[in-house]
Amino acid sequence: MKDRSLSSRSKSNFNRRDFLKGSGAAAAATALAGAPVAVEAADDTVRVFGPEAVKLTLHVNGAQHAVTVEPRTTLLEVLRYQLDLTGAKPVCGDGSSGASTVIIDDKPVTATSTLALQCEGKKIRTVESLGGERPDAVPAAFVEADAQQCGFCTPGFVVAVRAFLDKNPSATESQIREGLNGNLCRCGTYANVIQAALAVVKGGSRG
């Protein structure tokens, strides 16, 4: 199976599967040094990786990237150190700040609590995909509403707002106040973030 140090087994033979079906945070917590990690594949088999580093291909921002990861390597580490995509920020280890938010298969996920091994075959979008010559409506609205001060939480917030508005394109102010509590800002930009999100709703742009 390509040039990887992994094996493939059916799920019935692997008793950690149910445990590992839990959140990325739980999986990350179990990724002990030197221990193999099992990842559930799309074909309902469970593959065991490690303990050696393995080569993977990750689909990030529309391109395939060859990366080398240990079982314990988080998606955030791969993005930041191997792909130099440093928009997602390392603020905490368990995702509770939301600063490492990326979109995986249309869902917001914190890259710091996601193992890189879990991401093969999935479509990963980082904040960098919202920039470029013609930036997405959400970062543009953050600039206009000045929804950023030091800016360290901002990329995670931008991605979270993008994902939220993709799901709730007509969100009201009260829905925005209820639905965007996964991201932490220390400078206190929340009032401006609310204005930015409302402006995107009003503009009707999905970016």
Binding site: E70, E77, R80, T86, L130, F142, P155, L180, C185, T189
Partner: protein, 736 residues
């Protein structure tokens, strides 16, 4: 030399407008590179081991097993056998490795033996601190209208009698204990750096609010000179007063980079960021306050205490700002510092002021509560005693704030409002003061013969919008659009500019850049005048042209004017020394804030309904980023009023909530409606620039506490007002 001044009020084209920050797109799309984001080829990742014990002595420390972990390149102790540790999280060892996982595995292999020592962290308990021998006289001051007679031998006894007499003659006396716990800076980008060496020279990509002041801090311990160091910081992910230094671990990072010949990234882990890299002192106060029947305070007598770390001569909130802003005719204040086994404080946004406001303007509000008078009236009637001469400013700001809050129609006496089920609402207010004079700043301004404009200074953007402010000042002076000015900050190789602390940055960088730009324009105008055959004093720079005022026929485009410079760019240095009198900047502001809260008497949960901030700030350069500073300060205030505190375990001295998930902070849904209003009569413009970062973060604690007290009719005496503290206060009131 030009006469330095701002454009006449009403004639500016950029100053006072709402400009989007020029680095905004970089910040919001992830393109902005913070120190944590700088990746050097072949870079090592270094991580630090924090001490698990609050007070201990190192019996042994061994990093040899860590060095054997696969991927670890070096492991080093940072403490020696016999060293005394005074707080949990002090740094014991460093491991540098090929990746994050190996560095952490290495840390786990470091072996340390400890001798445990006595622990004291109960900063709220001054009696226990005294019993433990942990207290220190942190000063005091007494001011009384009457003088002791010549026959008085014991002045202290006389003061006791005089204060007792004044209290006895007061129509109302309030006696209370108030407090506010220590909090941490919690910068989202932790302290640290990425360091690399080339040809014996160090580049430190340091997360700092002091770009110009940190090179020498690296150089000394590394035995090089400061010219061999470049400190670089394009973006800093929060500082709030805690990132002025290279810090010991910055030097460690540079040393490992030197020894290994590889770039090294060393950032604090989240728990160490909270335990080790900055906190704001706590403050608790016993106060007796005597007022007349109208609520005018005549006498204040207080003793307060708290901790700013382990000492050796520990302090608390400065006694010099007690009571806060108000300075009644008679007052006695004294302070006691408590040595705790906690990390030393670092400056936190408006040092001393938020705590002083929270523990004293609450007592003033309790005078209103006891007399059954509208709090607004009690604050207003005490304005003649404010210590900064700004009674008129406060009075005007109070009127504006009351209108925006709809205070008069919402007001009810303390505890006498209607309830919606178990939920009651209330109003509170507070007021503040701050200096905010500009820091020393130098810049180098270059005007190229093709019309290009760039400025260089060793400043930083703490989130203030420093680049944008600088760009607006230079563009305004030359009559150019903001985009025409290229602003370069973030390198210690640029002209020296002050650290960003104490609301000094916007004043400082505006001074240096306006001066340089005015001087440059004078030189360019001289050449234009000669070319056009006009008097240089008639020329104005506006809308991309230099023209004779009122005569558009006699004009020249900016680019044509610059071409008169010849082959070489014009370089002009701008300089400002802190404290210089200048029409461009000044200091001293007031500010009034009001809060409306809803409190659930069954759950103890306080919810923000509305918050109003009215602020005088002199000449406003960028209305958009200025407003953001106030929104942010209000939210940071809501944080320490209702959510955040450093929680120490009394037995072990462990900082038990030193992770993001446990250190409670408000989220987007917790802040309610926030209204920001500038107080800006024409006299404010004429004061020039005054810093804004600190003042609006001062009042929220007292204003929100007063609102909770107004809602419940019961004071929740200690911040943050968590549900437990609210319920405890209600329970205590019921059993009293």
């Amino acid at each position: 030399m030009a006469e330095y001044k701002w454009p006449e009020q009403g004639s500016a084209s950029l100053l006072g407008t709402t400009a989007s920050r020029i680095d905004g797109p970089a910040k919001s799309t992830g393109a902005a590179k913070y120190s944590y984001d700088i990746n050097v080829p072949g870079m090592l990742i270094a991580r630090l081991l924090g001490c698990p014990h609050a007070h201990c002595r190192i019996k042994s420390i061994d990093t040899s097993a860590a060095e054997k972990v696969r991927g670890v390149v070096t492991a080093r102790p940072l403490k020696e056998v016999g060293n005394e540790i005074r707080w949990q999280g002090d740094l014991l060892a460093v491991v540098a490795a090929e990746n994050e996982g190996a560095a952490r595995e290495g840390l786990a292999a470091v072996k340390v033996e400890y001798e445990l020592l006595d622990v004291f962290v109960k900063d709220e308990d001054v009696e226990a601190a005294e019993a433990a021998g942990r207290t220190n006289d942190a000063g005091g001051n007494t001011k009384l209208e009457n003088e002791p007679g010549d026959d008085v031998d014991d002045e202290e006894a006389w003061e006791d009698e005089e204060i007792a007499r004044l209290l006895g003659e007061s129509d109302v006396v309030v006696e209370g204990r108030y407090g506010i716990h220590a909090i941490t800076h919690m910068c989202l980008e932790p302290h640290g750096s990425t360091c690399e060496w080339q040809d014996g020279k160090l580049t430190a990509h340091l997360s700092t609010q002091n770009v110009s002041g940190t090179a020498a801090q690296f150089a000394g311990p590394l035995e090089i000179t400061a010219d061999d160091v470049t400190v670089h910081c394009d973006y800093v992910g929060g500082g709030f007063g805690s990132k002025f230094a290279a810090d010991s671990w910055g030097v460690v990072c540079a040393q490992i980079a030197k020894d290994t010949g590889r770039g090294v990234k060393l950032m604090l882990d989240r728990d160490l960021e909270l335990k080790h890299a900055g906190n704001r002192p706590s403050g608790f106060i016993d106060v007796k306050i005597g007022a007349d029947k109208d609520g005018v305070v005549k006498v204040w007598d207080s003793h307060h205490w708290g901790t700013n770390g382990p000492g050796p001569r520990p302090g608390t909130v400065s006694q010099g700002v007690i009571p806060y802003v108000f300075d009644p005719p008679n007052r006695r204040r004294r302070a006691t510092g408590i040595a705790t086994d906690t990390a030393p404080q670092r400056a936190w946004r408006a040092p001393n002021h938020p705590q002083a406001c929270a523990i004293t303007q609450t007592a003033y509000d309790d005078v209103a509560a006891k007399l059954g008078i509208d709090s607004y009236e009690v604050f207003k009637r005490n304005l003649p005693s404010v210590s900064n001469g700004k009674a008129d400013v406060y009075a005007a700001e109070m009127e504006i704030a009351a209108r925006l809050m709809d205070w008069k129609s919402k007001w009810h006496p303390h505890g006498k409002g209607g309830a919606d089920g178990s939920v009651v609402t209330g109003l509170g207010m507070a007021l503040h003061t701050w200096g905010g004079g500009g820091h020393a700043s130098n810049c180098l301004l270059k005007i190229h013969p093709d019309g290009g404009v760039e400025t260089f200074l060793g400043s930083q953007d703490l989130g203030t919008g420093t680049r944008t402010v600088i760009g607006m000042v230079v563009a305004e002076t030359f009559g150019l659009p903001l985009a025409a000015v290229h602003v370069n900050i973030g390198s210690s190789k640029y002209p020296n500019s002050g650290p960003s602390g104490g609301s000094t940055t916007v004043g400082g960088v505006s001074e240096s850049n306006r001066r340089a730009a005015q001087d440059a324009l004078e030189q360019i105008n001289a050449k234009v005048a000669e070319k056009l055959g006009v008097d240089a004093s008639t020329l104005v720079a506006k809308e991309g042209r230099i023209a004779v005022a009122g005569d558009t026929d006699k004009s020249m485009s900016w680019a044509d004017a610059c071409s008169l410079l010849g082959m070489q760019p014009l370089e002009v240095q701008g300089s400002f020394n802190r404290g210089d009198q200048s029409p461009l900047s000044s200091s001293q502001v007031g500010g009034v804030q009001m809060a409306e809260v809803a409190v659930d008497r069954e759950t103890g949960v306080v919810r923000m309904k509305k918050f109003v901030a009215v602020q005088d700030i002199g000449l406003i350069i960028n209305r958009k980023t200025a407003a953001s500073q106030i929104y942010g300060a209000a939210i940071m205030g809501i944080a320490y009023a209702l959510f955040e505190e450093r929680i120490m375990d009394a037995q072990t001295g462990a900082f038990v909530n030193a992770e993001i998930a446990d250190y409670k902070l408000p989220r987007l849904g917790d802040v309610g409606e926030i209204v920001v209003e500038f107080y800006e009569p024409s006299s404010e413009y004429n004061r020039g620039v005054v810093g804004l970062g600190e003042p609006p973060v001062i009042s929220p604690g007292a204003a929100i506490s007063n609102a909770v007290s107004n809602a419940l009719g019961v004071r929740v005496p200690v911040l943050p007002m968590t549900p437990k503290r609210v319920l405890d206060a209600l329970q205590k009131a019921r059993t009293a």
